[in-house]
Symmetry: C2
Subunit: 144 residues, 2 copies
DNA sequence: TTCTTTATTTATAATCAATATAAATTTATA
DNA sequence: TATAAATTTATATTGATTATAAATAAAGAA
C-alpha cells in the first residue's frame, strides 16, 4: 500500500513517459490491498483498456521493480509472481487455500531488521517475509 | 542443514522405497550449506549416477516438500526454486551478486514468530524470511 | 500544422523450468 | 523364477515470462 504518485513520479524521474497504461497499472498496484499477479492486473484493466497487452504489464512491473518502488513476491505458494508496492520490511500472510496475501503489522519486525543489519555483514537492500497458513475465512472449510 | 537420516526415514515412513537416487538427493540436501536448486542437485549427482533423470530429482524434492521435511524458496532473486532442509523459521541471506543463499541465526526470529502466531488469526504452517544484499565476499567487486 | 525522430505499445514467436505421460527398469513378494 | 508393484527414465507438453519486430503514439523542430 502506497501513494500512486510515488510510483508515477518515479517513472517520470527515470525519464519515462506516464502513459495511460502505466498510470492505470500504478494506480491499481497502489490501491490494492492484496498483492496482485501480472495476470490479475492484466485481467482487471482489460475492460477499461481493451487494447492492453500483457507485455506492457510485465514491462511496467519490471521497471517499477528495477526502480526499487515495488517488490516481487515469488514465494506465495501458487507459482505466480505477486507484486507488492510496500517495500518496507513487513510480514506477509499467504493463505494456502484461497491464495490471498495480506500484510500484518508486527512491531518486532523492526527490531529483527536492526539485528540482521548489525549481525549479517551483508550490505542489505531489502527483505521478504512470508508466513503460510489458513486465513480465518478458510479455516472452517478446511481441516489440517 | 539437518540430518540425512531425518529425510530418508521420512520417505520410508511414508511407505516409499529408499532408492540410491533418493538417498543421494537426501544426502546432498542435508549436507549442503547453501540452498541448491533442482538443476544444481541434478548436475552434482550426474557424475556418480550417469543415468539419473531430472524428473527423479523433481519428484523426490516434491515428495520431501509434501512431507514437510524440506522448504521451497521461490524468492531468491534468480528465478529458480531453491530447496532448504531447515524448516524451522530462520533468516536466509541471498547475495544479489553471486546468488548464494546462507542462513543466519538471529534470536529475535523466535520472538517475532510468537507474535505472528498470536496476532495473525491464521492457522500457521511455516515461514520463509529472505534478506537481499551483497555478501562480504562480493562487496569489494560491486558498488551499489 | 506537418515532418521527423524517438519512445511505447502491441502482436507474435521463443524460452525454459517444471509437469505429465508412458515405456523401461528395478524391487518386493509369492 | 515368475508376477506384480513401485520407481526411474525418456519424451512430450505446459505455461508464465521474455525476446523480437512491426504498429502506434508522443515530442520537438521547422
Amino acid at each position: 500500500m502506497k501513494n500512486t504518485n510515488e510510483l508515477t513520479s518515479a517513472l517520470k524521474q527515470a525519464g519515462l513517459r506516464l502513459t495511460p497504461q502505466r498510470l492505470a497499472i500504478c494506480r491499481f498496484l497502489a490501491e490494492s490491498k492484496d498483492h496482485p499477479t501480472a495476470a490479475m492486473i492484466y485481467e482487471h484493466l482489460r475492460p477499461q483498456y481493451p487494447s492492453l497487452s500483457a507485455m506492457t504489464v510485465y514491462n511496467t512491473l519490471n521497471t517499477l521493480v528495477e526502480l526499487g518502488k515495488v517488490n516481487v513476491l515469488g514465494d506465495c505458494g501458487d507459482d505466480h509472481a505477486h507484486y507488492d508496492a510496500d517495500t518496507s520490511p513487513h510480514i506477509n500472510l499467504a493463505c494456502i487455500s484461497c491464495h490471498r496475501i495480506v500484510d500484518i503489522a508486527i512491531p518486532q519486525v523492526e527490531e529483527l531488521d536492526r539485528e540482521v543489519n548489525r549481525a549479517s555483514g551483508y550490505q542489505l537492500l531489502g527483505a521478504r517475509m512470508m508466513y503460510y497458513g489458513l486465513c480465518p475465512a478458510c479455516q472452517p472449510s478446511k481441516v489440517l
